[in-house]
Amino acid sequence: MSVVIDVENLTKQYGSLRAVDDLSFQVSAGQVFAFLGQNGAGKSTTIRMLLSLIRPDSGRIRLFGKDLQSQRISILRQTGAVIEKPDLYGYLTGFENLSLFAKLNGLKLSSHMLRTQLGRVGLESRANDKVKAYSQGMKQRLGIAVALVHDPQLIILDEPTNGLDPQGIVDIRNLILQLCHVHGKTVFISSHMLSEVQQVADHVMIIEKGRKIMQGNADELVSPEYVHVEIDSDDNHRCLEWIRKSGWDTDAASTTNGLIRARISKKDLSGFSVALINNGFPLKQFAQMNSLEDYFLSITQ
């Protein structure tokens, strides 16, 4: 499988803050690659560097095997992006915005083709309304239409479901899956809605303080053999000590809201809860979590 994005030792510093720190990763063609991290982790800076909006201090970015610095225009012809919120021209209509961005891509699309593109994101009936009258969700949809208007091979979406209603979220999720699995596009997606990412991503990378802390196959991260449990007992401090010392999970930790988070083998789960009670820790809460979100929280908190 060919590599679409190849990032090597990328670094960007703002004053004393190192926003991206020696970051390296690869994205293969046809993948839905989820890029996760808490606010301020360096996701947006990385995405902006991938689109040459920001110049890295050091490191190298190759897209489609080409150097971004020297072949920017050729690369951007094959790339579509929505970064954070899609800011479009409020004084123009949705149709005019799409037409304008199509022209910027060197395309001369007919009115029918442009309306078809708008229909793809459910905006055909509002094509002639000014964008300033659109809701945030509609702007998001239009931003996605703009990103896809030139049929790019690589689609970079930064928080694509921001501001969307539940139906809109489902539509975007289906669109991403369709783009990847039907049309063979590569999708690089950053989102804080981890449950959404879990449903579409093949590959996940998590960064914190600008550094990669984990990368792997989405299915492997949410292991079928292990589960994260959140525990609340009468004395969480003593309980945590006991879990660590007794070897159930030596890396068990406190959460920010004072609970205990532990990673336990699924087959030992019932034995673990009984052991807690038998050792004098009556359980007020024993919640089992097995989502990407749980995993994300467990390694970033």
Binding site: R48, I54, R55, D87, L88, G90, Y91, L100, L104
Partner: protein, 291 residues
Amino acid sequence: MISLVRIELFKIFRKPRTYISFAAVIIIIWLIQLGFYAEGEKYLGFSLQGMSESFLIEGKILNGFLVCFIILQTLLVHIPLLVALVAGDMVSGEANQGTLRMLLTRPVSRTKLLISKFIAATMYTIGLLIWLAIWSLFFSLFIFGKGDMLIMKSDVVTQILSSDALWRYFAAFCFATLAMITVTSLAFLLSVFASNSIGPIIATMAVVVLFTIIQTLDLPLFNAVKPFLFTTHMLAWKGFFDVQMNEANEQIVGSIQDMSGILWSGAILAVHILFFLGVAIFIFRRKDILT
């Protein structure tokens, strides 16, 4: 490139704020014309009171050419603000809206994008000056008719024949356009630095006002600086109304007293434009788009 310029022009002329300048120009011109139409003769009579004791003044002094000259004297001080309103918004406005990052993720060269924006801003400035010419000159001629021009300076009165005036206005408007393109390029440069359009507009006006104050004050320190200020050279359009005299102290029709001075000022303005644009390109090519 042509396509990019067309896109930029499309955006400029779809923005309501663009038409503020055109509306402001027409309102001011109409007010001045209305004032002169109602009380122009009285005003000129008062102004020429001293002269009429020494000279016999015949003919129609209040005419379209004179009114246009007065309008230009008044208005060319304010046009920079109207020019800055659009030019100062060209990059900073897009940065503020977030559309700049949308634009720059398209396969477009940053240099070409910036140059096309500058060309579009320049075309807007040219359009504004043409608009000014139509209403200040042609509409004044329509209302007040033709006639010889009397231009009063501090110690000199210049008379320009009616048949000798029109080409001078054409030249003056062309020069004024160059002067306003200089302001456009300054506002455009400042626009590259900012993330909101108010900053570059105010900064441009601050520079123009500051330079104009320095230019007005007759102090030795400032006199040394004046030749280097672009605002000094912006007023060289008036030179087209200084007529050469022959040995018999008669006007030479079709002549200009100091053509080399006008050309020098034009060259200095052109250098300013190239410098401002060059710096803008240099900065923009390296700029991190954080908005």
